[in-house]
Symmetry: C2
Subunit: 197 residues, 2 copies
């Protein structure tokens, strides 16, 4: 997942990978230091050679999550015509695959609500991640020559995050409906064709 030069850096990256997965799946407090280190194939003692304390870990884990998110974002938006990129991104972000795999990709649906209660460093990472996501959407929307691309981008991002948040608390059938509704409405208001399905 993450490459690094020294063995220690590789170990640190492994810890962060596991933390990023576990926290998206179980919440920021959902995994303790000992359990996390075990998942990384280590014991709890070595933890403080890699991080100042648990808060420091959380902040860097949030970074790691937004790296995943950015990767997906760029995979769809970059090197695609704007309309196609946006359509693909909406379909992927609001897919049943994404619904199922709570430990991957964008941290906002699973941890967005907790972000405001996190220590400053982690919270700042969320803030930066949101701005970057919104800016990427705004650029694509501007390319489509839609009016107020900045405002529309904020609105689109809000709906994407909200729809997945809600869908994840619903059972599978209700989630399917909610996700489909937001995929359709989002494409409609961006002026994209709506595929049957």
């Amino acid at each position: 997942m993450s490459e690094a030069s020294t063995p220690k850096e590789r170990t640190r990256a492994r810890i962060l990978d596991e933390a990023a997965k576990a926290m998206r799946e179980k919440g920021a407090d959902g995994i303790g230091v000992a359990a996390l280190m075990k998942r990384a194939g280590l014991t709890h003692g070595g933890f403080y050679a890699h991080f100042e304390n648990r808060d420091d870990l959380v902040a860097h884990a949030v970074d790691r999550m937004f790296q995943d998110s950015d990767f997906v974002l760029k995979r769809h938006l970059a090197g695609n015509e704007a309309a196609k990129g946006l359509s693909e991104l909406i379909d992927y972000y609001l897919s049943e695959e994404t619904w199922k795999h709570t430990d991957r990709g964008c941290p906002l649906p699973s941890l967005g609500g907790e972000a405001s209660r996190m220590p400053t460093a982690a919270r700042q990472r969320f803030s930066d991640g949101i701005h970057a996501f919104r800016a990427a959407l705004a650029a694509s929307l501007a390319a489509l020559e839609l009016p107020n691309p900045e405002s529309l981008a904020a609105s689109v991002l809000a709906e994407m995050v909200g729809a997945m948040t809600l869908a994840r608390t619903l059972d599978e059938d209700a989630a399917r409906l909610a996700l489909g509704a937001s995929r359709d409405q989002l494409k409609r208001r961006i002026g994209l064709p709506i595929d049957a399905g």
Copy 2:
């Protein structure tokens, strides 16, 4: 806040009021049994005379939160023309007042992300609350004779929840922009007039 007949019922209601406030503010795990009972003017021992265990408390506290939310919902939507009611609801739900007072009203922005990780009883309460919210929106949208009111209602709810979730992780200036953007875009797509401001 809540009335009841026997003293014990009044005590229980007080505990639930405090739990509902504290959990919206600090997260579902943000307050322990002892601290909660102290906020209600009691000590920790009596807790189990009112609730089976902590999970039971959480489930009923979520109920209590959706009662607050429903009250606000109906205050705006009922006994108002549909257009006016929706406009007021959007303005209130996405207001800076709501942004500040994390311990009041709808639990979805603060706890929506955690809901999927809660025990079944609490999670079911969230699911019911979402359906009721969506149905109320759909009824108002249908009165406006908009196409696909059910789908639109799901989409509008998603944007409302997502916008407040994101705004709460942003600083005040960025939050103001995000909330304003979603207020405008929501009204635009519902065909409501957009007030200057």
